[in-house]
Symmetry: D2
């Protein structure tokens, strides 16, 4: 039997980190559609994030992206966040948007470019010191487009060298999360294409280096929950970049494309102890709201993670274990599906009410008037986006 | 036995159409890297295309993209092209870059947007009249990102209505080529996602509507040469948008990712009579040279198509048919592979010399001094790209 | 607002066809695991199917596979079925298991093999006359393993010729359902690889030829509900072969791998009118229960189809249409998800009770004692499987 | 400049291991087509393998599969092989064909089944002692078909325990090669689904455990040569199971589906030193000749590996390195393609002649009369296949 009070407690303590860039504009290579009311600077992004947290109660952490969120005074930014009940989360480095990085950053054949890229990564750790961030999230777009373009193994050597230098710079309470991605923007090889590559590097670096799983970064057919279970067993799961996809790295709202997969992932997280704060698994969103309203989309995404988590918590672990060890395929599957098929929205509504929140975050946001406020108030200036 | 003089004749008469936009800048959603010497307007694009034709002798046709190649006087543009030994090819419509098109163009739920999109398509036919172009190439980015976002069947109704209106506007010698694409920029549904959808619409429209096969627009594992063979058998293959891909719509140089697939495609083209000019199959490139030098990349791409064509022409059709009808699997495969494994570069070099060309187009281009000329000459102004 | 009495009525009238072969043994190329109590002949398969219908109330139709279900007297088999409240459904032809079919059946380069295959197909129509079956389901394993092995276009000619001959033989109330499949057992080309190919042939044949969608027969990333919507709009959707898959044609229980996809498919069915009996859409299962108990797995599968159907029926069509035409992406998605997230098990339980059934079909079956009866009773003899 | 004498020497010293089971019958779950002249026992398989070696000169090693190649006296089998100029290669264990293994072998929830499976693996090492085999090749079909069916992490624990026990049993000159596979026959999870999982286990086990790369065992879009380069850099590449595929684990002749991929793989092998015998990289075939004649198919496969190797050896390493470090994308790609586009068949013919062989192995085999001899001679008895 599932202990409902433990379920409620777990749902109350889960923290979901939202990304500053999801509040800004984004798009595809074909077009970035602008939306009304989009923030013009990191402070306004934090204002929006505060609304998400106000509506959901579980999203107090905001990840930054450097240089998109570059400010003169990170201590001031941190104070601004804290004034709004927020903390600053992972620092996401960007070594893919300068012209120098056309053929790679830390794996570039040109040592000068490599030095520049490494310098940026080290700067990001400086920023972490100022923001109080725990995690440095490293995603490298590095790779090649054509067979022969560069030496695959040599690029691994260069990558290892840069990672080692960054690792040494980390403080005692800081971590390095190494993301992997199958492809895009590189189209032939990617230097960290899969979890195995990330894992192998993290293993050599040490305990402060961990793998981050972006749910949109896999080859078709990849069983993501297997990877989650494997990394948790190895104590190498640093966290998630949640989003969903039908085809490639679509960066849709998490849970929108395959809610059952999200549930299976959260089931492995629960099973492997990853919900316990001490394991340090970060539940981050990394999404692009190209055509839908951004703040409501982020609220919906937070709710989708919560619903998947609630269902995973409702799995009757004893019944499941019993069916599994008896080799009863249909019964074991049925135990899992019973939790998945449960409508957990009433449970989450009541958890929210216990937290003093509106039971329906979407309605709470609509009622807040914030959307009208930013639509009318944020005129002029340069809307935030991936470019800046 | 293969008739080598017929092979040479076929190679001399093949025409490969290059796209104006490949001479401009392009990139991914992450970054567009600028290159030196990139053209600033359609005239300079034609100058570059003339270099490709000068080096290869088989690329006299240049496709335009509206509005990226919008000019005040299309007759003047046509004359400019003809002065350089070029003709203007397919007019590519663009109904994806205005803010109005966020939720679709001809399939948009808003009738005003649909009217605007249709107006653009009809304008493109006007332009065809002026440029003497035979083909209107229609690619629709229309689709949805989220389940439920719009009504799939209703969007087909809207699509059919727009296609019908454009079809009626076509002149006697004009065609409509309907492209399909699995995904991107739409991530849940695409309104023309596969050849079957395009074929079904073209069938209803009539003989001037044909399917265009972009080699990068299929689901993983799709057998493209089957589609080519099927459409040729149905007289519904209008042409190709050639490029190559490892993952999604990577738009790499054709032949760079899977030269054997390109050969198999050309084998079906030859088998189905598609090389004969009267079948009207257009051999177009549609590529993005994000990190490599553009003009040389296009020359290489033209050469890759030629090499695949040459190998396909070398297939011993009688021996192949004999092995096939005998059910000799290994021998039939060996006949095909024998052609594929042949190094056709000497053959193509001699064909070029017979045409009065340098045997090596890459060397010819290097020797021309054009690259230095544009690098130093094209300073200032706005480089051409997808945005304009 | 959704009309709940209409939902209940629709759920009561839906009919799900179970396949005779799912009651027998099946497996992979690596191993067929035998299970206790498996039927030894078509009569015992019908006995098992009767149990599924007894437990669910919506599965009175049983599809046959010839020659696996070959009997001397089909009228007697029909009477046997009717005595148990069953009717005989689609006749599934088999032209892939004789040694002659190594290189294909109706598309074989050898005309003698083609004649033999066509003869079998015509025999199947004779059987339909005797069993009262409406549908001839045609799946061809025909294809090639190696490039060059056979002529792709010529095989289409042969296929068209065979289909035409079968079509002419059909009675007024008989249909031909043409299945497509991406690959397996052929590994290079398949002669009917996608819906477009099936559709094109059916269109030429006439109204009695329709496409059947096997949910496991697509390339990765294919949007199946788009195909369903498209075919319904064209009145060319003959029915489904339901199953589920994570990778290829896994033939798992329908709804087990991606229940959200199944819901989306059923949403398009409801939207396109496909639930109305007069449209003739057949809801068939085509599954392999390699490791799980077969009868309970089929009951579970029937329930999964019912649950997806119930959720699809609960979609608030008016609210959805309003949000769609307003271009409100998030709201439209939310309307759809609201139905999906509903726990429809209580609704289905009450529908079953109204039909005089046990609210829980799995419990009903367990309580029936049938599994013990067949386990102890069916000893000796040759268990049914794909081979016979 | 490439040193042609070194190329010739490398081609002469390469050894390609053929699998005993490829000489027997195989098929798909739909049908196993029998062929004339197929061996009835391991001795006859060795006779056939001797023909492959006679024709090619580079295939003196034959892998065995236990229990398919079970004999009473392995020393006698070894002597039989050596009399024919052959040696016995990798011992392939089989823990997937007993009824006990329905829910797994070493990862089965039932400890008794796990003990049985481990016993078989240890028996295989005993056989290695007798046959003089260096390599134990471990492929586990273990996995689950349905979410919830078993505990993913617990299965990893069980797997690790079994591997550890086998590892301890290995002799000083013996290795354990751990294969991975995305799916099939398990359809939801596979316990060793990717190279990362295999690598992680091998790393913990020690230097005698290495990863084996089956070229058909990856998710769509996986860059196999990246994995090869990565594992070589880590000294963890034990060898290859070569075959080719268009879709899943098609097990077609290596080089038949994507010869350019095979070349890229061999380029990484050459680049990483994997052709040097001391690195121990085993070049094994693992194929199914379902519809084509088996011995000629294996000869062709050996030739395909040789041709890819020859092309890889012809890559001008200095020119490549220069272009790569200059960041000249097109030139680096051109250097690689220049080698690929070379017709290496004349080079290989002359290498064969220097070895005293017929320049064309296919012609040599046809001329040998062996096929007629086995067709007429091998009558009666039970043809070898996967079942026995």
């Amino acid at each position: 039997m599932t202990d409902l009070s433990a379920v409620r407690a777990a749902l109350k303590s889960q923290r979901i980190e939202t990304p500053s860039w999801a509040y800004g504009n984004s798009g595809t290579r074909f077009k970035v559609f602008r939306q009304e009311g989009v923030p013009r600077d990191p402070y306004e992004k934090l204002d929006d994030a505060a609304q998400v947290h106000a509506a959901t109660g579980v999203a107090p952490v905001v990840a930054l992206h450097i240089p998109w969120d570059r400010v003169d005074d990170y201590a001031a930014l941190r104070a601004y966040a804290e004034d709004r009940g927020l903390t600053l989360g992972a620092i996401n480095s960007n070594v893919f948007q300068d012209d120098d990085y056309k053929l790679g950053s830390v794996t570039n054949p040109d040592p000068a470019v490599r030095r520049k890229a490494l310098g940026h990564l080290l700067d990001c750790v400086d920023i972490m010191d100022a923001t109080g961030s725990r995690d440095l999230k490293l995603w490298f777009s590095d790779g090649t487009n054509y067979p022969g373009q560069d030496d695959i193994a040599a690029r691994q050597d260069r990558l290892a060298e840069a990672l080692e230098a960054v690792y040494r710079r980390l403080g005692d309470d800081q971590r390095m999360l190494l993301e992997y991605k199958l492809f895009e923007p590189a189209f032939y090889t990617t230097d960290v294409p899969d979890w195995g590559t990330s894992y192998a590097h993290c293993l050599k670096l040490g305990p402060k280096a961990q793998v981050v799983v972006d749910t949109g970064h896999h080859a078709p057919g990849t069983n993501i929950e297997f990877i989650v279970a494997f990394l948790l067993r190895e104590a190498k799961l640093g966290g998630f970049d949640f989003n969903s996809r039908f085809y490639a790295d679509d960066d849709l709202m998490v849970g929108a494309a395959d809610p059952f997969q999200l549930f299976r992932i959260m089931h492995e997280v629960v099973r492997g102890g990853g919900l316990r704060p001490e394991t340090g698994v970060a539940f981050m969103l990394d999404q692009c709201h190209n055509i839908e309203a951004k703040i409501p989309a982020i609220i919906r995404s937070v709710m989708n993670v919560q619903e998947a988590t609630a269902k995973a918590l409702l799995v009757d672990a004893d019944a499941l274990a019993a069916a599994q060890s008896a080799g009863d395929v249909l019964e074991a599957n049925a135990v899992l599906m019973d939790a998945y098929n449960t409508d957990v929205r009433p449970l989450l509504a009541s958890v929210r009410e216990e937290l003093g929140l509106h039971p329906d975050p979407m309605a709470a946001y609509r009622a807040s008037g914030w959307q009208q406020q930013i639509t009318t108030g944020r005129v002029g200036g340069e809307q935030a986006g991936w470019g800046a």
